[in-house]
């Protein structure tokens, strides 16, 4: 591969070299293993069973995932992790999306990133190995724009206390710890601490539960405090989360699109397969164009993140975060359309993709919010 680096110029930025936009043999193997595992262990029948429960969570499955090393992927090797890069994590997320799997990997990767960048040595040493082993499930309360949330910190004679609530917290039902931002730094708080309540919310996307986390006179001390500004902590979680969500959305879109294409080949009306009609064929062709474009941005953002290229991350992440969920929402919607009446039924799987994608357009910031951020970076608006 020594002869490939010169083909195109933009792959070299700053100090680190961003990986080419192709999968290495190892990454392709990782993809295949993930696809096989999810196909065998989380088929649609299992997805439906899990999404009927408030936590959509299966401890046994989570331990199988831990045995595969997924929770450990973004954790350094000396802290019980696998020390993979963000590109490998992204490969797995694309497969999770394709399977619409209700695994709380998004929150786990966000929490991992927060501990890696903002944890104290003690927190990293105790918590990261537990997360890697599948023993500790930690989530991050990323504030949702427009929600009436807030957690106040006050000092009492007995120490600092938290009061308030965080809503729409991703995959918080059943989690053992929550990262929460306050006016005076961010904290990791165990959910079984006195005064903590996690209330499931009825989520549009039943494969990804949301919860309202309530704090009533919850005691926190320095051992719970993360390092650095609370805004930076949330930004780390939002950035890493958005990149993985973008890659997941590529998988969601690809899964729904493939399903529509196969259906268009076999469904006959007017004596012809409906895929032979240009109205249907062109819709699916346009979706392929948009899918591949989205995939390029999701892969690129993961590669920028993998080499900690700050300047490139500032552009690549909002590009992928604004484009991929919207693209997936459109393509999964078209998949329902191509399926026609059957695609609108509860028993058909098309709505699972559509709900997963539609929720993703708001989950970590709207497309418009990401574009505002991009506009500021580019000094365009």
């Amino acid at each position: 591969m020594t002869d490939t680096a010169t083909e195109t110029s933009p792959t070299r930025t700053g100090a680190a070299t961003i990986q080419d936009l192709v999968l290495t043999d190892e990454q392709a193997t990782l993809r295949d293993v993930a696809r096989d595992f999810l196909g065998a262990r989380v088929p649609m029948k299992r997805v439906r069973e899990l999404m009927a429960t408030p936590s959509a969570f299966d401890e046994g499955l989570w331990q199988e995932v831990a045995a595969m090393g997924w929770q450990a992927m973004a954790i350094p090797e000396d802290l019980g992790g696998a020390g993979y890069g963000m590109v490998e994590v992204a490969v797995v997320f694309e497969e999770i999306g394709r399977a619409v799997a209700p695994l709380p990997m998004l929150s786990t990767i966000m929490a991992t990133a927060v501990l890696r960048d903002h944890g104290t040595d003690d927190q990293r040493a105790t918590m990261l190995p537990s997360i890697a082993a599948g023993a500790l499930r930690m989530v991050v309360a990323v504030p949702v724009a427009g929600a009436d949330d807030g957690v106040e910190i006050t000092d009492t004679e007995a120490g600092a206390r938290l009061d308030g609530h965080a809503s729409h917290v991703i995959e918080a039902v059943g989690a053992e710890a929550v990262v929460v931002a306050t006016g005076r730094g961010a904290f990791v708080v165990p959910t079984d601490r006195a005064g903590m309540t996690v209330v499931p919310m009825d989520a549009l996307d039943p494969t990804r539960p949301l919860a309202r986390v309530e704090f009533a006179n919850v005691a926190v001390d320095d051992d719970d405090a993360l390092v650095g500004d609370a805004g930076d902590v949330i930004d780390t979680a939002r950035t890493v989360g958005a990149v993985m969500l973008a890659n997941e959305m590529v998988g969601v879109a690809a899964g729904a699109h493939a399903m529509a294409v196969e259906y268009a080949k076999v469904r006959r009306q007017f004596g012809r397969a409906i895929g032979s009609f240009q109205a249907v064929k062109h819709l699916l062709a346009d979706d392929l164009v948009q899918l591949e474009a989205a995939r390029s941005t999701a892969w690129w953002a993961a590669r920028a993140l993998a080499v900690h290229d700050v300047e490139e991350v500032a552009v690549a992440v909002p590009v992928a975060a604004s484009l991929c969920p919207a693209t997936a929402a459109a393509i999964t919607g078209h998949s329902i359309q191509v399926h026609g009446g059957i695609g609108f039924t509860w028993e058909h799987d098309a709505h699972l993709y559509y709900k997963r994608a539609s929720a993703a357009t708001l989950l970590l910031g709207s497309g418009r919010a990401w574009r505002r951020r991009l506009g500021a970076t580019l000094a365009l608006t």
Partner: protein
């Protein structure tokens, strides 16, 4: 010695013996051809080194770094991009030796005589006839949308030699000397007023049978070779971030009051889509280099055509009152080879309408993506097995 080392050594020697800064471009291109660096995948002596076509981009990139003039790739694009590969596959040695070098040095410009008034998307429906007479062919018909015909010495010509066969089977392919008697090139002015293209009228034009490429009746497959060659020969070319039409949109935005939030968001949406397209081209080029090309290589033309229309339309909206004007008016001109025209946003806006027609309409490209990439069933083809002369037209 592996391909890469041979190529790099040849480039080093070329640059040392013919420094781009002091060598006239035409002399440099001749030396580049002789060094086997015109098309590295061609055999030695035919402008190549017998290497893999995936090294083309490396050569272009290294010569670019050395500031060598590579404008021939663009200015003689039909010849260098499409003609060369066709000659390599279908012409005899004598013809290759006569034609390839002056093509690369731009001493002889090439054009492509494929489209006709009645054969656009349905190219195989073409009607220009060639009738055998001794060891010559007599050609009559009309070609259209012929880029560069007004400056060309040679044309890649597809004709119908047997109207009794179904449309794909009765075609024969020739190299036409554009200086021949009976070749009449007329400028075709487009909606910008310019004439990038021409109409070519062919009246009793005589072509030696020696100028035929491929067998009589095999013109369709030769024509496919021509169309398949373009991307290979020019090499993956990925633009810089924020360049092209989106740069004009950004410039117009920055010159405006830019107080309209809806428009600001629209600009950013277009910027994101342009970046997504750019990254997809980059990905396609990486995949080609790695030898694992996928669907990302087939979506770019369609995506670009539609996006370019959207961006140039947006720019006119940003221009506001200036979007009502056509600075300089509509001059009925034809571009020359050595002038680089100044393109206004208004011209780009109008020119973009052709993007989704030329080089495969967006509708045909969607059919191709749907049928060849996604495997969807084809449209019913009513004329497929009928003799061409019996198809209603």
């Amino acid at each position: 010695m592996d391909d890469m080392t041979r190529i790099d050594d040849a480039i080093d020697a070329l640059l040392a013996a013919h420094p781009p800064a002091t060598t006239p471009p035409r002399d440099f291109w001749g030396a580049q051809f002789d060094a086997g660096l015109a098309w590295v995948h061609h055999p030695v002596g035919k402008g190549g080194l017998g290497a893999s076509p995936r090294h083309l981009a490396h050569v272009r990139s290294r010569l670019g770094e050395a500031d060598a003039d590579q404008s021939n790739l663009r200015s003689n694009i039909i010849g260098i991009g499409m003609g060369a590969g066709t000659l390599l596959s279908h012409a005899d040695d004598a013809m290759q030796d006569r034609l390839l070098r002056p093509m690369f040095t731009m001493e002889e410009i090439w054009c492509q005589l494929f489209s006709e008034p009645g054969a656009g998307s349905d190219l195989a429906n073409l009607a220009t006839s060639a009738i055998a007479e001794g060891d010559q062919w007599i050609v009559n018909g009309q070609k259209v949308w012929t880029t560069l015909a007004h400056v060309s010495r040679w044309g890649l010509l597809v004709t119908r030699t047997d109207p009794g066969q179904p449309k794909h089977r009765g075609l024969t392919y020739f190299v036409l000397d554009m200086d021949s008697d009976g070749v009449d090139v007329r400028p075709l002015h487009q909606i910008t007023g310019e004439a990038e293209f021409n109409e070519v009228y062919l009246t009793d034009v005589h072509i030696d049978d020696a100028m035929r490429l491929g067998a009589v009746g095999a013109g369709w497959s030769v024509a496919m070779t021509t169309l398949m060659n373009e991307r290979v020969a020019i090499g993956g070319n990925v633009p810089e971030r924020g360049t092209g039409a989106i740069a004009d949109a950004v410039a117009a935005w920055q010159d405006s009051d830019h107080d309209d939030q809806a428009m600001a968001d629209q600009l950013l949406q277009l910027w994101v889509e342009a970046e997504a397209l750019r990254l997809t081209s980059l990905r396609a080029s990486h995949a080609r280099t790695a030898g694992t090309p996928g669907p990302e290589g087939s979506t770019s033309k369609l995506h670009w055509a539609e996006l370019n229309k959207a961006i140039t339309t947006f720019t006119m909206q940003v221009l506001g009152p200036d979007g009502l004007l056509m600075p300089g008016g509509y001059e009925l001109t034809a571009p020359t080879l050595d002038e680089v025209p100044v393109v206004t946003p208004q011209q780009s806006f109008l020119r973009a309408r052709a993007n989704s027609i030329e080089g495969g309409t967006s509708q045909i490209l969607r059919n191709i993506l749907g049928e060849r990439v996604l495997g969807l069933p084809g449209e019913p083809r009513v004329d497929k097995d009928l003799p061409w002369r019996e198809v209603p037209r």
